[in-house]
């Protein structure tokens, strides 16, 4: 219904807007909907939602829509929106904040593969202090395939495995696959930083 967009309470709006603004460090209220961000956004064709729309959702207090749209998940962090914004609003930072908030609340991510990818990357970094591509891709495939299987997507899992296997073979042919494991000496520091992050 067209009138739905006007349904908001001030309390709900203020809390959500304040949280997103503070955490992302962006002044969302400075947006005057000029849509330069929308014109430059490379993923807008795939997401339906453009950066200006997302900002509007947050300003209006629409927590559900703002957290569950493809822009938040498919944003490639190219930082075009923020670079071109006349008021320096970095919507990519807002997307990052919304993803962090979804993770903290253990909400089901709208795109499981993307969430699995970044989760696996950080896990790999926490294990060795460096990314070991074999371990990282293994962690990612297990997590992404598991989530896909839960949704009954066996054919998608098989297609994914085939694509990755093909790439793996091509990489091996060109000696671009590395099997050695790299581990830093200062792992105690990395562990402390990860612990500190968890405690915040």
């Amino acid at each position: 219904m067209a009138t739905d967009i006007l349904k908001f309470t001030q309390e709900q709006t203020a809390t959500f807007l304040k949280e997103v603004s503070e955490r992302s460090g962006q002044n969302l209220q400075a947006c005057y909907q000029c849509r330069r961000c929308a014109a430059g956004c490379p993923v807008a064709d795939d997401t339906g939602v453009t950066p200006d729309r997302l900002i509007r959702m947050i300003v209006m207090g629409d927590r559900d829509q703002a957290s569950n749209n493809l822009l938040v998940w498919k944003c490639v962090s190219c930082y075009t929106c923020g670079t071109r914004c006349p008021n320096n609003i970095h919507t990519a930072r807002i997307n990052e904040t919304l993803k962090q908030m979804a993770k903290e609340k253990s909400l089901q991510p709208l795109d499981v593969k993307i969430a699995a990818f970044h989760g696996a990357f950080m896990k790999s970094a926490s294990h060795f202090g460096r990314i070991n591509e074999m371990e990282f891709m293994g962690l990612y495939e297990i997590k992404a395939s598991g989530e896909e299987m839960k949704r009954g997507g066996l054919s998608a899992v098989i297609a994914e495995m085939m694509a990755q296997a093909k790439l793996g073979i091509e990489m091996m042919k060109r000696k671009r696959m590395h099997f050695g494991f790299s581990r830093i000496k200062g792992m105690d520091e990395i562990k402390r930083l990860f612990n500190r992050a968890g405690k915040k």
């Binding site: 490639v76 962090q100 460096r130 696959m177 992050a197």
Partner: protein
């Protein structure tokens, strides 16, 4: 001139060739690279998408180690590592509380003194100083590269001074011209290849790259050149699939700028490991009598 060198995880693995050729070329140019001792992962974009603290803290560990060396500058070839380190340094310069919190967990504390340079800044400066006018063993005549910068060298998630023209950087073109190549004028030099989306959202990433490939070919480029290992890997490893899917001409070889310099300074393409590209990249150099 001694300078600290941060390879980063990618240059330690699938883009090892970039590490190898960076060392060869920079030594040949008179730099003495000192690899950052016990460097660790910068967190890349994954940290900023999952945890704000780690997005600043992971690069900070490396900054602390670099500051402690007492050397003035650190060079970083990977655009993502470069961006995360620079952003971390800028954020910590303005947020003393966060700096204290991070420093309390680090053995070598962040001081904020090290100057962070992208490899292109360093090469473009050398080029402007006229370095290549004297040192070349051959001119790269016939190469018409589309200079591809990607996202993270010019656009940052915070407001800050940028060493280039954000929408139309020229540093790579300057180096190419100094080497005798003829870079094309094109529209997608700072567009996004999708980075990690090639793995986790390939349809989207392929669409982004199809535009990049299409424009480069339409402008008459006979190759790409870049300094970003993710841009290189994406355009190189997936280009054949993309041109098939979208019916595009090509494929075009995707060179690193260090490969151009190496060839122009007489280094063997095999020492530079150009034969490890996915799109066959030796024959164009042979056709043009550059090797």
């Amino acid at each position: 001139m001694e300078i600290i060198y941060y390879p980063g995880c990618t240059l330690d693995a699938s883009s090892k060739l970039y590490d190898v050729q960076t060392r060869i070329v920079m030594e040949k140019m008179g730099f003495s690279l000192r690899e950052l001792e016990d460097w660790s992962c910068c967190g890349a974009t994954s940290a900023s998408k999952t945890d704000e603290f780690l997005a600043v803290a992971l690069p900070a560990r490396n900054l602390g180690i670099a500051d402690a060396t007492g050397l003035g500058e650190i060079v970083i070839p990977c655009s993502s590592c470069y961006s995360r380190m620079l952003v971390s340094q800028k954020i910590l310069a303005k947020n003393a509380a966060l700096k204290d919190r991070i420093n309390s967990e680090l053995t070598k504390k962040v001081q904020g003194s090290i100057k962070i340079l992208n490899i292109l800044e360093l090469l473009a400066t050398k080029s402007r100083e006229g370095f290549f006018a004297e040192k070349l063993s051959k001119k790269l005549e016939g190469l018409k590269p589309a200079c591809y910068y990607g996202c993270l060298q010019t656009r940052f998630p915070i407001d800050m001074e940028v060493p280039y023209d954000v929408e139309n950087p020229q540093g790579m073109e300057d180096v190419c011209v100094a080497l005798g190549a003829a870079p094309v004028d094109w529209s997608y030099k700072t567009d996004c290849c999708g980075a990690s989306a090639s793995v986790n959202d390939s349809e989207l990433s392929f669409r982004l790259m199809s535009k990049i490939i299409q424009d480069a070919a339409a402008r008459g480029a006979n190759c790409f050149v870049t300094t970003c290992p993710m841009c290189q890997l994406n355009l190189d490893a997936y280009q054949n699939q993309i041109i098939q899917k979208y019916g595009l001409p090509g494929p075009l070889p995707v060179y690193f700028l260090t490969e151009f310099i190496g060839i122009a300074m007489g280094v063997s393409p095999y020492d530079l490991q150009i034969d490890r590209h996915f799109v066959e990249s030796i024959s164009l150099l042979k056709e043009l009598n550059l090797i």
